[in-house]
Amino acid sequence: MTAAPTPSRVPPKPRTWPRTLAIWAVLLVITAIAASPFVGIDLGAGFGAVAKSWQNGVNKLLEMFQLDWRILPRTFPPLLQTIEMAIAGTAVSAILAIPLTLWSARLTNPWTPGRGVVRFILNVIRAIPDLLYAAILVAMVGVGALPGILSLVMLDVAIIVKLVAEAVDAGQTGSIEAGRAAGGTQFQINRALALPDMWPSFASQTLYVFELNVRVSAVLGLVGAGGLGLLIDEVRTYFHYDQLAVIILELLVVIVLLELGSSWLRRRLV
């Protein structure tokens, strides 16, 4: 046993500093390029603009603390429309999402190419931010609630289908195998077994999407797609920051209340 090396020696410290240094250097270079003029977004010019006009701007910002409550009655109809848009968008997308989810989960649709096509299309849809849809759809179908609802539906369907299909695939396969062993067709299996199994995750994602929709539909109006955003746009064009503050506060209260309600519901569902 004398040949054995002393076991209590501290192992050599791994040499990680060259890698760390390289990572830091790359990050710094990207940041520097992104911030510089001509090749980036020219933060220097941005700070220059701040230096020139900050006094005026700060006065405007301070106006936000003198809340102008007279606008409150005017906010109720657009706020109601915002919530209506969110509900309508959620309802339509929930209905569309059920068959699409069954189509794009491995357990409920064994046909890989068909699944791949739908998943790819949904990935592409998810790559475009909500307000860009709204901006394009407003130009297509005109100003109003309709383009807003349509852009909500696009993203919601993509989100619900992705999350619920993943939950279906990660879930228990027992009941579906039992259904197959009993000789059920894929359609029968999906309707009788997969659908009840995916119900809790479907309900919880739909609730999540509803919360998201209230937030998004509040600003969709900035590009003309109806709801509270129209009012926000009007108030901001005239720099009525005292009124903007009231709208933001109101929105905060509504969003927090909805979040509390939906987290209570989710606890009961799951």
């Binding site: 990207i30 603009a49 701007g57 209506e84 509900i87 901006a135 130009a139 309709l146 609802i149």
Partner: protein, 277 residues
């Protein structure tokens, strides 16, 4: 349990009757119908909608105006740069704050205040933050970067303190046992345990920021969103088609790269974990 009970329980149990579920479904359906009646939608025009959308998709993608591609890429780069700066800003501010907001690290009042701040920020969309700070910073990409940065503090802060609270406490206890102070505990006990999680949060937040930066262009702070609004207003659909393609490709590409790095970080960390410990 007696044999008799077993025999009895072998009968098919009665189907549970969830009358309240039906009630809930009925209420939801009623609300949805009421909403659709209340919304000012021109239902008679809804029939034309699919045809219209196909027509516009054709206008956009049948012959995209590729001569606008260089400008589109340049503006996309500006958006991504905006997202990058904003994300770095939020990482720099949110990381210490999120650790401070975790139970067991910061003082009680600090935890409450920080959590309220994170919650408020998360409830306000980026574009509204941008509108608010616009009066000070003007219509420059800096506004976009700051708006993204502020909004990132809300999300990164919340994810951060949740990660700190669920992190394994062994390292911190070891440092405390060997006489370290709070600073040592965080640097040598906590940070190694949460660093991989935090890194992957940062990358994920960058993906969100890229989408946000495209949106922020809509109010005129520059970038791809700015270009998109102008060309939709000119109804120059061939260019809009190019812009949409660029947004899709760049976003999906960045998501793929960031996702690959995130997987490398988290999975590499778990496979190294036991050996290192």
């Amino acid at each position: 349990m007696s044999i008799l009970d077993l025999r009895l329980s072998a009968a098919v149990p009665p189907k549970p009757r969830h009358w309240w579920r039906w009630l809930a479904a009925l209420v939801i359906a009623a609300v949805v119908v009421a909403v659709f009646i209340a919304l000012p939608i021109a239902w008679n025009r809804l029939g034309d909608l699919p045809g219209e959308i196909v027509r516009y998709l054709w206008l956009m993608f049948s012959a995209p105006d590729w001569s606008k591609l260089p400008e589109a890429l340049w503006q996309t780069w500006r958006s991504v740069a905006m997202a990058w700066i904003g994300t770095i800003l939020s990482i720099a501010i949110a990381t210490p704050l999120s650790i401070l907001a975790a139970r067991g690290v910061g003082p009680r009042w600090c935890i409450v205040v920080l959590r309220v701040v994170f919650g408020v920020i998360r409830a306000v969309p980026e574009i509204i933050i941008a509108i608010v700070i616009l009066s000070v910073t003007g219509l420059t990409p800096l506004t976009g970067a700051i708006a993204i940065g502020v909004s990132g503090i809300g999300t990164l802060g919340k994810w951060g303190y949740e990660a700190v609270e669920t992190a394994p406490t062994g390292g911190v206890e070891a440092v405390r046992a060997s006489g370290g102070r709070l600073g040592d505990e965080i640097r040598w006990g906590l940070w190694p345990a949460i660093a991989p999680t935090f890194l992957s949060f940062w990358l994920y937040r960058f993906e969100i920021s890229v989408r946000a930066s495209a949106i922020l262009g809509l109010i005129g702070v520059g970038g791809i969103g700015d270009m998109l609004t102008s060309y939709t207003q000119y109804r120059d659909w061939a260019t809009v088609g190019v812009l949409v393609i660029v947004v899709i490709v760049v976003t999906m590409l960045l998501d793929a790269v960031s996702g690959a790095i995130r997987r490398r970080i988290t999975e590499g960390a778990t496979s190294r974990g036991p050996a290192g410990a």
